[in-house]
């Protein structure tokens, strides 16, 4: 582009003008990242420490940083507490997250396929509608949604925290972007020349080609659903079948709160997501970097 590009630079200043992503990270880079990572991980680690300790640990000065041996004891208390339904809440969270994830994957990949590869009048306008719905704050209709659920007789049931989330605008958008590039037009066209119906094309050509995208969207959806708090709290607080987030807030409510118990519960409710991050972390990173959207 300029003279500098072709001029041989002295070795010392080799980094000058080189794109950052081609510059090797120095010790300061690693130190900075390690410090940031430590701060990110510390609350989780400390949650584990308190979850494994006795009552003293939480108010010890200077704070304990070594896990104790009381985890089983604390867990036993959490799981046997009346009125909190902790064990059931974990199962409920699994049911809700799994159903929402499966349905999101199915509906979003179908819609994404239609928007990416099929031609029909109004397609582009409808796609813009999908994108616009992304920007609507979810607080806006919350009161009316509650009343609507009441009319259906779903208030206080798991159905009420599943049905509104069966499909997501972000999912449709993400799938459309992916399918546009991952599935060649010629493949779709030639399959149809051979007389394959649309659903057949979806099943035999599109689905196998978009497995990576399904993994990404599935992980993001599962994490988001598992962590959902406000709507499940409105719907399920005080019922015998809360989700684990609602059960956690119950655990932390009351006049006298036992923190080793609360954090033991918090730890259990976090572990499934940590496992997901460990197994599918790269996919989650990819999903976010390809343009994921907060909740």
């Amino acid at each position: 582009m300029t003279a500098t590009a072709s001029r041989r630079r002295p070795r010392r200043r080799a980094d000058l003008g080189r794109a950052p992503q081609d510059t090797r990270g120095g010790w300061r880079t690693y130190l900075g990242l390690a410090a940031f990572l430590a701060l990110s991980a510390f609350p989780l680690y400390w949650m584990f420490v308190i979850a494994t300790s006795d009552d003293e640990a939480v108010s010890q000065i200077p704070p304990t940083v070594v896990p104790g041996g009381e985890l089983m004891n604390n867990l036993h208390e959490v799981f046997t507490l009346q009125q909190v339904y902790f064990a059931a809440s974990l199962i409920n969270s699994f049911i809700v997250s799994a159903v929402v994830t499966a349905s999101t994957l199915f509906f979003c990949s179908m819609a994404g396929f239609a928007f990416a590869k099929l031609r029909f009048p109004g397609r582009d306008k409808l796609m813009i509608v999908v994108i616009l719905t992304l920007t609507i704050p979810n607080q806006l209709g919350i009161v009316a949604l509650y009343i609507l659920m009441g009319k259906f007789g779903w208030n206080g049931t798991l159905v009420s925290v599943i049905v509104p989330f069966l499909v997501s605008a972000f999912g449709v958008f993400y799938m459309r972007q992916f399918i546009m590039h991952a599935v060649p037009d010629e493949l779709v066209e030639s399959a149809r020349m051979d007389g394959a119906l649309t659903m057949r094309v979806y099943w035999s050509i599109v689905l196998p080609a978009i497995r990576p995208a399904l993994a990404v969207l599935g992980l993001l959806t599962f994490v988001a659903t598992w962590n959902e708090f406000q709507w499940p709290l409105i719907q399920l607080n005080g019922t015998p079948f809360p989700t684990s987030m609602v059960a956690l807030s119950d655990l932390a409510s009351g006049n006298y709160v036992i923190y080793r118990r609360v954090l033991a519960g918090a730890f259990v409710a976090t572990v499934p997501l940590l496992v997901l991050l460990l197994l599918g972390g790269r996919q989650i990173v990819r999903g976010i970097m390809e343009g994921a959207v907060k909740s």
Partner: protein, 332 residues
Amino acid sequence: MSLTRNAPPASATEPAHHRSPKSGYKSRNWLHRFDNKRVPYLLISPFFLLFALFGLFPIVFNGIVALRNWRLDDPTLTGWAGLANFERLLHDEDFWNALVNTFGIFILSTVPQLLIALMVANLLNRKLRATAWWRVGVLLPYVTPVAASTLVFAVIFARDNGMANWLLSLVGFGEDAPLDWRAYKWSSWIAIATMVNWKWIGYNALLYLSAMQSIPKDVYEAAAVDGAGPWRQLWRITVPMIQPVLVFTVVLSTIGGLQLFNEPMLFEENPAAASGGSDHQWQTIAQLIYKVGWKDLNLGYAAAMSWALFLIILIVAALNALATNRLGGGRR
């Protein structure tokens, strides 16, 4: 974004498969016509049906609820309230207090969050060993349930023997009278903003990183002429080049930050109260809506508040996007 780039005009070309069925059986013809004309709509219909029912309808209906008397504890008290709910809102000290709190926490969380995210992204934007693992690592807070992490922070910010106070005492602050984080507006805001920052910095850093990596490399070569070091490189080249994603994150943080609910709820010593402190020091609007609707059981009034919150979000998001455009770019 390239929303329409690959889409040819819908009616200009006949789809290839229209001329396809070589074996011209009547029934297959009918089936294929149905497949061509109707099936695409069937495929996208689940989204639109579910959105119409659980997204659009509640928003419209919310407007009606806001204009009516609608109480959960007294189903007989119905009928139109006119603008009474909105009038009440104007004179409701709790609402204005919650508005101030929401904005205070919003600013304390958004500004450091995005700045630090930029720094972290800049660090990640190098040739690193185990690149993938650093990126996965910064997502630890993102996957942690807010309910769980907030409860940890509630312990850290305890008045007696809390870890935050212990750290402060190490630097000689509050040794004899430990800070009661929940007692004052400023301290409770800082505590809550810390939780929000903790959760979202890594996520935003990845968004920035993804934008940074798509900056053409020759831009950096060109800048080497005036000897820009890494620091100036960041501010003079990288930041202006990723401006669209900056605007995007600002808008996202605005939408999320002004609806803040989980952290203030669970920071409370007794979350069931939903009061946001003994004197509502940190009660946010979303929390107030929850309290008015499901503790005071006044759904009509809660609906009116939702509308007010929506309006505020709209205005602030627009202003923010505008300001970020100006600040970030300076070009055009």
